[in-house]
Amino acid sequence: MNSLIALLIGVATIGVGYFVYARWINNHIIQPDAKKATPAKMFMDGVDFTPANRNVLFGYQFKSIAALGPILGPIIAVQWGWLPALLWIVIGTFFIGWVQDFTSIMIGVREEGQSFGALSYRLISPRSRMILLIFIYFYLWLIMGSFGVQVGYNLFTNPAVPLGVIIVILVGLLAGQMTYKWKQDIILTSVITVVLSFVGIYISTLTPVKNFFSLIYGFATNAEGAVVSPTMFLTVTQARLIGSLLMVAICYFGAVLPIWRWAQPINYVSFWIVTLGILGGVVGLLIWHPGMGDFPAFTTFNVAGLGPLWPILFVTIACGAISGWHSLVSSSGTARQLEKETDALYVGGGSMFLEMFFAVIAFLTATVAWGSFQGYKDAGGGAAAATVFSKGLAAFMNKWGLPVELGTVYGSVFLTLMALTIMYLVVRFMRAASSEALGDKLPVMKNVHVGTIIALVVTLALIWLVPFLQIWVMFGAANQLMASLALLLVTLWLKNKGKNYQWTLWPFVFMFITTIGALLYKAYESFFINLPKAANQANVAQYTIAQVIIGIVALVLVVTALLLAWDAMKAFRQPITKPAEVRA
């Protein structure tokens, strides 16, 4: 199949999904009222509730939801063949993805801007709030692990990448200083910092820089002719150790320094690098428009290292089809800034459909950039999804003249920045979560540095012990389970309002069964398939600990989700109490 057809399928999905299906639901069931005051207008406190123009909110929502999920997920999932991956991206978004994002905003708007914790307390049960908090902490830990492996092991261990990332971070700090302290014009700041970033990425590709990092990483050619780094402990090589520690250091500063000093200005500079990279890749793709070669539409039902197509494919492609992360951002952020109810579909649904398109681009870097399925596997396949994407993007950009080596480093820096942007914010969130949960009993947990270090130590443990594909599937399952719980909450809310809830109920049922199935499969695989093989592994202790971690985390997530679903079912069976009629 030609890549242009995949792009057209994406465009057609947006056309029919947004302009027909979503609009019908919006007009006939939700029935937004443009004249009704939203919480942003009602409260307008300048702190949490501030109305914003819908286009501004669209950019804000898209920036908040787009991360590594829609990029790495499709690249891993094509191991089942391109057809199941593409189908889930488009069908998942069409029936479930936009529904979750849109309804998460509407429920927040119609319930005075209450967050998911407060809504679950009120609509489901009082204990559901605590269960949700436990679930969220494990979910955040899995995000750190899944992104951290790709950054620390895959991207930073390329000697041409670290300096580029470090320079972009320093340039970001400069952008913050210029904006907040020196009060410079934002356009001047943008031009200077973006140009310096490109120069930095170029410098990192120079031979002396690569030789320097190769020396630090201990790269040497072994007897088979492969360039390898010496193993330090377990399966952690010198390169991986330094890469993961560099990642941890960046996340530490991002988590403890004020947002305006580190996170925000670096995010600002990263935005331009990412956007220009995507535009460059799309232009190259349109010029080249290659076919998929012999990339099979379907390979096998059970992929080694991942599992069966159902339920694992549906949790492998997370954010490209549906993501629980979006419901957290939508309900606690976007819903409190919506100027009019009629903007909700445009902001929530529109940005999700755009993210679907983003996932299609990533899908194409795996399927068309290599000319064949073997080419994809030789590039690293699913386990090195970040490398596949950066090299694929470089192949696209080469079509309008960018050298492949520079394009690959650019793509790697692009991905690293996207991952780090989310990671140090997730660490802040983990620190806040541990402070809230344990701060009363252990006052030291309220210390910023202690909470951050603990979050980073558990992340390192996950990265060093558990293989990437296992962490990714667990992350996807937790993410999709969060989404199904959001759909459950929305279904309850719609039922309480006397509205048709079939369009959220069946997506919830499908996602809930699929994600519980995926987690139970991972637990079964860890305890009954992998653990018995531990004695045959090179690192018995590491392998055993990895399987135990995966198995226990999977079971904890299953138990928390089942408890929530049980409470929700009891709430669902409650009759709708109509308000008493008052006679004048």
């Binding site: 406190d45 702190v47 909110l57 951002v329 809230e436």
Partner: protein, 101 residues
């Protein structure tokens, strides 16, 4: 000729609207977050000032001095919103907005 001019004018209007829309989206994805955080910081400092001066509205035993009463007419319109912001129950999912975005 007039039809052509009308089509051309509509095209220019369309391009202008598209440029404004894209500009607003880029603003939303980049600088808007900074503006929002600056507004939050300003509002927090303002709330802190009101808390120190008018904390007795929230039950904090601050005896209203002469200047507090002089400022009261200017603060009165903001009191309800301020009380709501400070006393609003927050949990971890509220931090998604503060800590993540």
């Amino acid at each position: 000729m007039q039809a052509l001019q009308s089509i051309f004018q509509r095209l220019i209007k369309l391009v202008r609207t598209a440029a404004i829309t894209v500009g607003q989206m880029i603003y939303g994805a980049t600088i808007y977050e900074m503006v929002r955080d600056l507004n939050k910081e300003r509002a927090s400092i303002e709330h802190l000032f009101i808390l120190i001066v008018f904390g007795d509205f929230l039950g904090i035993p601050i005896l209203p001095p002469y200047y507090t009463l002089r400022l009261l007419p200017y603060i009165a319109p903001n009191i309800t919103g301020w009380k709501r912001t400070l006393l609003r129950e927050r949990d971890l999912t509220d931090l998604c907005d503060q800590e993540i975005t």
